[in-house]
């Protein structure tokens, strides 16, 4: 289990050139930054696409270059980029890579070479995806769910090349995720330092670890559907394609099942929500604890809640398919399982709030983002209870209510955690603090702005405004007030989008010119702040690996000389985890 502390076995394999240090790097910290940087760049593309969509919705017909085809291409690429290439890559490839070895007390991932390959294969998947903007017909506009038969038939934008590049890119991404995932899981299981039992690991690691297990088991479903759809498109098989006419012509397809694709897609798609959410849950738990100077409430419950949510996430997928139709008993089952998953999730929310209760709350920028996450996740989660019920879902499923729900719960909420987490660990990564004034400005605009964008969408949805339409003009059931609201949402979205560039500017400026950071500026107890150097050097821990004597939540311990006790402080300093808590 624990890594051997082998002073005798030390060997110097430090990178010696710029290329091996920063390009073909096998250092988990550099790979984390590579993953994070690429994800942020591709995320900015996704952001621009969303603003282009909003221009069309808010001011239909004003921007002539946004025709119906392009609109659907923007929708599709925005969705896929944000869910897969930004959030999944950033949480697992970025935070997973950076935090797991440092928080577990390891020198690196256990398979550094494969870790390096993982990033470069991920980058290849991004390049292939971006290439689809430049092929004849442009990227696919099939919607991010890529449902057949329309995804590969004439009439859907990008049905010739765009869809092929999308599927190939996804397959490459899955290979990258698998290589990374093998590393994260094995490192957690095999390379923890002495004393770092599983039940002493910070919840960030638990969240990322469980999400990685989910990814390793769920991405194969996307792989299966991707391979089969690619063959349907390129070699004329009929896995998913029924006998259909396309543009008045027989297609040659016969007997395939579009519903089979939907089952496979959502068997991946729902755990994907938790692949993004569980790392966010873990990180938020740590940020709350550090910035409220209090042990996380109910650590063991929090761990088990993460694991139970991970398990349940595999038996709720068909709630995305209530409208597709299914045996009523299945609908009943999936509605019940969906509502049950709210129980461990609610436990987590209660425990976060109870951690704040009578805490010494510091309204630092990471804490602001954390509190904003709690509110956003709560409102996004509560609308999930509506949509989990078949009879409520069916009328709402095709409306903006769903757009509001999933953007709150798995778009905005995890991104707030990303911002908080980057601000929290930036001093460890770069040795400098992120500029606080810019950080606060970015926080308030993002938090209030996203509420102004998404909260009204609930009303639009309940009013019956359908999603997926290119142009909302000329429908009697959509009143003028809805158009005004759409205009308002678009203006706010443009402003919030522009302010995200300020965050990127802050990252670059602070990394070069920011205030020098102390080794442990937040006075955090977890192990990553105990490295001998800031930023940590190759191998992380100098000559001797750390030894851990307590959990990561020893804050405000009565009788202690300081308000936190580091995980690697001598055992006699106290602050051990409760034994039956």
């Amino acid at each position: 289990m624990a890594i051997a502390d082998t002073d005798s076995g030390l060997h110097d394999d430090a990178p010696r050139s710029f290329i091996t240090r920063y390009v073909w790097s096998q250092d988990h910290k550099v790979i984390a930054v590579q993953y994070g940087g690429t994800a942020i760049v591709v995320g900015l593309v996704g952001l621009v696409l969303s603003n282009l969509m909003r221009l069309q919705i808010g001011f239909p017909g004003v921007f002539a270059f946004i025709d119906a085809e392009r609109y659907y291409q923007y929708v599709t690429m925005h969705g896929m980029i944000m869910v897969i290439y930004l959030l999944t890559a950033l949480f697992l490839g970025g935070f997973g890579n950076y935090l797991i070895p440092l928080m577990c007390g390891a020198r690196d991932m256990v398979f550094p070479y494969m870790n390096m390959l993982s990033f470069w294969v991920y980058l290849l998947s991004v390049v292939v995806l971006m290439a689809s903007f430049f092929v004849p017909g442009g990227p696919t506009g099939a919607g991010w769910t890529l449902y057949p038969p329309q995804a590969i038939l004439a009439g859907t934008p990008g049905h010739e090349w765009g869809i092929i590049l999308m599927l190939v890119s996804l397959l490459i991404f899955i290979v990258a995720t698998t290589m990374g995932g093998l590393n994260y899981v094995t490192t957690v299981l095999q390379a923890r330092c002495r004393g770092m039992t599983l039940m002493r690991m910070p919840l960030s690691v638990w969240g990322i670890f469980t999400a990685t297990v989910l990814a390793l088991l769920a991405f194969p479903a996307l792989f299966v559907s991707g391979v089969m759809m690619l063959l349907d498109k390129t070699l004329g098989t009929s896995f998913f394609m029924p006998a259909v006419l396309s543009m008045g012509q027989a297609t040659g397809y016969k007997g395939g099942s579009p519903l089979l694709f939907q089952h496979l897609f959502w068997f991946f798609g729902h755990p994907e929500v938790y692949i993004v959410a569980l790392p966010a849950f873990g990180i938020v738990s740590d940020l709350i604890s550090v910035h409220a100077r209090k042990a996380i409430f109910g650590y063991r419950q929090m761990v088990w809640a993460i694991v139970v949510i991970g398990g349940l996430s595999f038996i709720v997928w068909a709630h995305h398919m209530f409208v597709s139709g299914m045996n009523p008993w299945f609908g009943f089952f999936f509605a019940i399982s969906t509502l049950i998953i709210a129980v461990p999730t609610a436990i987590k929310v209660y425990n976060w709030v109870l951690t704040l209760w009578r805490g010494d709350i510091h309204l630092t920028v990471p804490m602001l983002f954390t509190l904003a996450f709690l509110l956003t996740f709560l409102s996004g989660g509560l609308t999930g209870l509506f949509l989990g019920n078949v009879s409520v879902d069916i009328p709402l499923s095709g409306t903006y209510f769903v757009v509001a729900h999933f953007h709150m719960v798995m778009g905005v909420a995890p991104l707030l955690v990303v911002f908080g987490a980057i601000t929290h660990w930036f001093p460890k990564i770069t040795g400098r603090m992120l500029d606080e004034r810019l950080g606060r400005f970015h926080f308030w605009v993002t938090f209030l702005g996203t509420y102004l964008i998404y909260f009204p969408m609930h009303y639009l949805g309940i009013m019956g405004m359908p999603r997926r339409y290119y142009n909302y003009e000329g429908y009697q059931f959509i009143p003028a007030s809805a158009h005004q609201l759409n205009e308002f949402i678009t203006i706010v979205a443009l402003f919030v989008g522009a302010v995200q560039l300020l965050f990127v500017f802050n990252l670059v400026w602070s990394a070069l010119r920011g205030r020098k950071a102390d080794p442990n500026p937040w006075r955090a107890a977890s192990l990553e702040w105990a490295t001998p150097h800031t930023p940590p050097e190759h191998g992380n821990w100098g000559a001797k690996l750390p030894e851990v004597h307590r959990w990561a939540y020893a804050y405000s311990v009565p009788g202690a000389t300081r308000d936190y006790i580091a995980q690697d402080a001598p055992a006699g300093d106290g602050g051990q985890e409760p034994q039956h808590g």
Binding site: T178, V185, Q190, L216, A221, F239, G256, E537, G539, G542
Partner: protein, 192 residues
């Protein structure tokens, strides 16, 4: 103090590799389980027919059984002079498996059963191709084990080869035994 040291010692690397192989076996199992599930669901459709599997598959199965057994013997014989020869033989038997699978493909193509002929044929090619890729990946690890010669690498090869064999037997059984009627029974759909 040397600023850059990486002390992942041999014991840890060996344990990590062992865990890594188990995790990978889990991922590959998920992948093929989902494929077989999709196969059963697709075989319940009206256009599904059972595929007449080519006889070469018996030969390929025998080769993979031999590969698996030889890898196990090589792992158990570590330290003895025959170990390297057994490892060689295991690799050769596995390459013969790939050859026999390609021969089976040729036999099907000669019988005018192409990839898009019918659902069972489509799944046959996809199953054998993806299983073959996993075998080729194993052969890359095998070539490393041949050169490095560490006992734990050979043991991991043996473990992975047993998995490849069980996986192939499962796929073979699914292709041979899941008739459209059985698939419809499993899916609860009525016969057309």
């Amino acid at each position: 103090m040397a600023s850059a040291v990486l002390a992942v010692d041999g014991v840890v690397r060996e344990r990590a590799a062992g865990t890594g192989v188990w995790v990978f076996i889990g991922v590959a199992s998920a992948l093929f389980t989902l494929f077989v599930t999709a196969y059963v669901m697709r075989m319940a459709a009206v256009d599904a027919t059972k595929i007449a599997l080519p006889a070469q598959l018996w030969l390929s199965t025998a080769c993979l059984v031999a590969g698996s057994v030889l890898m196990e013997w090589a792992a158990r014989a570590q330290g003895s002079p025959s170990a390297h020869r057994l490892l060689w033989a295991g690799g050769i038997a596995t390459m013969a498996f790939i050859g026999a699978q390609l021969w089976a493909w040729q036999a099907l193509l000669d019988a005018k059963v192409g990839l898009a002929a019918h659902p069972a044929a489509s799944f046959f090619y996809v199953f054998t191709a993806l299983h073959g890729l996993h075998v080729l990946g194993g052969l890359v690890a095998w070539s490393v084990a041949m050169q490095a010669g560490a006992a734990w690498r050979v043991a991991l090869c043996a473990r992975y080869w047993h998995f490849l064999l069980v996986l192939w037997l499962g796929l073979y059984a699914a292709l041979a035994m899941v008739t459209p009627d059985l698939a419809r029974f499993i899916c609860g759909t009525a016969a057309p």
